[in-house]
Amino acid sequence: MENNSRHINKDWLSKLPKNSGHKAPDGYFDSIENDFSVNIVEQNLIFLKGTSIL
């Protein structure tokens, strides 16, 4: 009985889209490697500088 009451209706679920509908701007993933690397290294230097002062 417990198993039946915990049954998920997979037929119903299979009718739903597997894609969330979200989209990323064209070229976004190509650009973030450089942007993120530079920003993060810079921010980390500031962070380290800040902590060394303390």
Partner: protein, 182 residues
């Protein structure tokens, strides 16, 4: 492709850290982006949270012990950063986080980076009504096809608990959609 053990060793070596970090971003940027995007919804907010996630990874990698998988550890950071972001947004506006989630889902219909059809929009609105844990489990299981073992490591919740959360999430989504499409 470099394996995670070697990558972590390079990330923890000051001589190779920056170069290895580029490799890390290249390898994980898309997976983490889509994981965060499903939580915070808007592209711009996802971009901010993704960057914050990589900053945390960069700062925390020296203390990372290879007793868990690298991606599990990063997913956990990304999840926490996303939830912290939404909580801050709710706190700043003095409203409950559930209200923020509802607003975000409603805003999708005019979001240039949402191209879903009517049923995808209703599904997103249904997901927005779920409690946090159920929302996370549903997204990771349904959209990302992750195994319960993997989700369990990331969310630090038992597999049994996750199965129950997924079951309740599906039931609520089913009810939400049926009452709006029948």
């Amino acid at each position: 492709m470099i394996d995670d053990v070697t990558l972590v060793e390079q990330l923890q070596d000051v001589q190779t850290k920056e170069q290895a970090f580029r490799v890390l971003i290249k390898e994980y940027k898309e997976r983490l982006y889509w994981h965060i995007r499903k939580i915070v919804v808007s592209h711009d907010d996802t971009d901010d949270v993704l960057q914050n996630t990589f900053i945390k990874v960069f700062r925390g990698i020296d203390n990372f012990k290879q007793d868990s998988k690298l991606y599990s550890w990063m997913y956990r950071i990304a999840t926490n950063e996303s939830i912290t972001f939404l909580n801050k947004k709710a706190r700043d506006r003095n409203v409950d986080i559930s209200e923020i989630k509802q607003e975000l889902a409603t805003s999708l219909s005019s979001d240039e980076w949402f191209t879903g059809d009517e049923i995808q929009l209703i599904l997103q609105k249904a997901i927005a009504t779920l409690p946090e844990k159920q929302q996370l489990v549903f997204n990771m299981k349904y959209f990302d096809n992750m195994k319960y073992d993997e989700i369990s490591t990331i969310l630090e919740t038992s597999v049994g608990g996750l199965k129950a959360s997924y079951f309740h999430a599906v039931k609520k989504i089913e009810h939400y959609i049926k009452t709006r499409t029948d």
